[in-house]
Symmetry: C2
Subunit: 570 residues, 2 copies
Amino acid sequence: LDITQLIRAARGDRPVDLLLTDARIIDVFTGRIINGHIAIFDGHIAGIGDYPAERTISLGNRFVAPGFIDAHVHIESAKVSVAEFARAVLPRGTTTVIADPHEIANVLGTDGIAWMLAEAERQPMTLLFALPSCVPATSMETSGAVLDAESLAPFLSHERIVGLGEMMNFPGVLSGDNDVMEKIRNAHAHRKPVDGHAPGLSGRDLAAYVAAGISTDHETVSADEAMEKLSAGMYIMIREGTGARNLDALIPVITPYTEPYLMLCTDDRHPSDIVTEGHIDFLIRKAVRAGVDPMAAIRMATINPARCFGLTRTGAVAPGRRADLVVLSDLETLSVEQVYSGGILVAENGEMHPAIETPRTRPCPSAMHVRPGALDLSILADGKNIRVIELIPDQIVTRQRIMEAAVTDRFAVSDPGRDLLKMVVVERHKGTGNIGKGFVTGFGLLKGALASSVAHDSHNIIAVGVDDADIRAAIAAVIEREGGLVVVSGGQVDAALALPIAGLMATEPLARVREQFDALNHAACALGARPADPFMILSFLALPVIPELKLTDRGPFDVTQFAHVPLFAE
Amino acid sequence: LDITQLIRAARGDRPVDLLLTDARIIDVFTGRIINGHIAIFDGHIAGIGDYPAERTISLGNRFVAPGFIDAHVHIESAKVSVAEFARAVLPRGTTTVIADPHEIANVLGTDGIAWMLAEAERQPMTLLFALPSCVPATSMETSGAVLDAESLAPFLSHERIVGLGEMMNFPGVLSGDNDVMEKIRNAHAHRKPVDGHAPGLSGRDLAAYVAAGISTDHETVSADEAMEKLSAGMYIMIREGTGARNLDALIPVITPYTEPYLMLCTDDRHPSDIVTEGHIDFLIRKAVRAGVDPMAAIRMATINPARCFGLTRTGAVAPGRRADLVVLSDLETLSVEQVYSGGILVAENGEMHPAIETPRTRPCPSAMHVRPGALDLSILADGKNIRVIELIPDQIVTRQRIMEAAVTDRFAVSDPGRDLLKMVVVERHKGTGNIGKGFVTGFGLLKGALASSVAHDSHNIIAVGVDDADIRAAIAAVIEREGGLVVVSGGQVDAALALPIAGLMATEPLARVREQFDALNHAACALGARPADPFMILSFLALPVIPELKLTDRGPFDVTQFAHVPLFAE
């Protein structure tokens, strides 16, 4: 951006590139609707009013909001590339996201962050990032990288890095852990805020967490929780993702006093929900239907996150700001009719404009240090009873259940008759050869196996199956695709989705990914899988921070005791 | 601040220093009044609630607001030292100011800024600074320093420097001047905002000024002007100083939508007004009396400026923030009963607490490169008519008037019978020997002379008088005091106020300064001076940016033509 030329354009001393006439501009600063023309130069708004212009387009008195901002999102959760994510959310009016590349950083470390930053340069939207603060989430599993304060520091001066990402390690904050404190201190030294992640934190612990210098929270689920966190000085990001949906509960929190401290975010939203419901536009519509003033709803999705993250050149239809514009039908249905990003019409009527090409994403090499042929998946029976992960329908928390082992020829094996299935977590990053082995009940498979390179947060290869041959074949199929989700039966791949970007994201178009995802679910169901979204459930079975029993590459893990435990119980 | 210990205190793992019980806390984030106890550790708020404490004081259910913030002030205008300024405003509840040391920088350059930063360390309040952006204001007079982008750059990383100060040079912005652009760019690179100074700027010029990256304005005088600037994305600082009083006119602008973008400031407020009316507390009371919601008024003076300038550790009664607290009688009269700064009771019932000592300020050496005995004050008559500065009562703008010169012995002289008085501006910084010579009408002196080292913006020595002997004596008296204001008649000093800090500020206590100031006005009046505040009027007669005719050290200056003009007219 050449400011000197922008100043000339703003003064009318040179023609602007584009004049959008007859707009009803939603002025997020004063709450007024301003009838005017929007002059655009070099991707930015030069001024509002009549200007000499190379090109003029009438907006026919439609409403124009600033482009929407998702204040907190994990792009990896959409399982598509950055380019495909942009193509999915832009038609919905989201022109800026603050993404936390936590998943890819767990796999690839700083290379993963650097890759996301590089991809961001190539997209027709503004991708900003919060630097992942907790890689790995715990030391209880083997991750692809350990990002300490020193390794994060060089990123803090990058202009696309607008803050430190969600500080999930609140025990580390509350105990004043040195490395955690240094990460926070470094972000503040760059005058960049620190995102919180403080589900249910309250009272003195909340005070300590905020006093440490943490500014935002997106894990708030109730109005009382929100009011306490607001009073403590936190900005609240109201989240409406695919799994966690907190908007309805937080509607009562939105008042003229609190609104400047509120933002909207999706956190984790699956492609199918983006396609069917929408993105930030869906949250705005849902809020307005629930009685929220449309101006307040739009402020929460535009200028408020811009202020929170110090983004002075976005978030409003005003001089000097990026010409990110959402043309809306009206202020009731809030239907997104056109989207301009950086002054370019990128989407219309829910579809990307045909002229907007996004470069096809190259895979990002991901370590798969596993030789499937050499894997010893057997479990020597070392007792009568075993600790089994018991699924709770539609939840990612699990229970620990003691069941009698099924033993064949001195080895503990699956027993589909009792819905007892073998699970393994194969370390893929460092070539340690670690294999966590355990059992799960509630998964329902009667034959075959599922395997996945998406396994929060370290994303080792996780597999579940009826016999070792299919489990091994499923793992081999994942490795062959440099990452992915597969369903195998009788040694054959029934369905697969390749995720060659760090083992987390596909390179194929969103529509194709959705098809393959549907086929995977169908194939898993055909083998007897009981969860509606078996790969989602599987992806959380290695995460050692959500109770009660999990399996990491180092074996069964009791989250309540926060310690590994033997598979065989007394 | 040791964050680790603050975290421990917040968790209750160690006793806090002080627990203020039974407070009705004004929660600026939610608009609620919260009944609770305020736990203070190491000058900061550890938490709200019951805490183990070394000491407990009950606030008897009084209201507690966050300490007030003056968003834009020139401390030099109070003519007292930084310490005396602090002692004046703290009892009024102002615990933080964002000061622009523009005046001292014009005299002493970066040394002046460094001196203010050093003084700030010794005060019982939080003194933050905006870096003076326009030193000198113009090149039409000889200032003590020229501060270009390069000389300002090292200050931008200082934690007390929170922004770039008022960008008065809007022609420089609008023309894309390289040095101006670099100053703005450098501030942005440090993620610090740039204050504007844009009286009446509108339309395309306003768009250009904002597009350049300027964030705030404190020169707004009407509601329409405010709404236009808000819509353009500017924060508006509502000013109520001694001269400029804009609050009444801007009351209609305050709505729930605009309020987060509004702040309060004093800009220039004389000690007597601080003593009789108050400081930011006066603005809050005046706003509330005019019908503004007290919560909104308090937000404009606390969390709003904190957000605007990225001050995350002030502006609210919340964990981790500085324990700057204003104990108020009620929310109607808003009388300031007690003031805590950094957790210490610094003032009560309008007086500084006796235990709070502020170090006596040492003078700051200021150049006085003038030898009074060698000054040639004579004006050789070079024509019949002269360009005379005509005062307009109660205004700082002047008119140019052509009058016939009074000539004695080939020299143009004062003619008190026609209220025609000689004026001189003696360059004091560089020893150039420059003496600007001219005439003024409307000043009214019948005998004697006035001289002052306060002469905006370069602060050379300005004097007006009936005969050269008294003018010379007055200049000599100023120099003898290392700066000051003096009234002389018959070669004797009738009254004087020494301003040995850069020739701008006294070292004596505020009360003594007021006395001396009153004595000066009295003495000037006795000599016939017509302006109510003759030294204030005198101080603006060298400022070459306010129309119509001024006098700099290089001679008469026509502001409309923006050029020096000969004293003698055709």
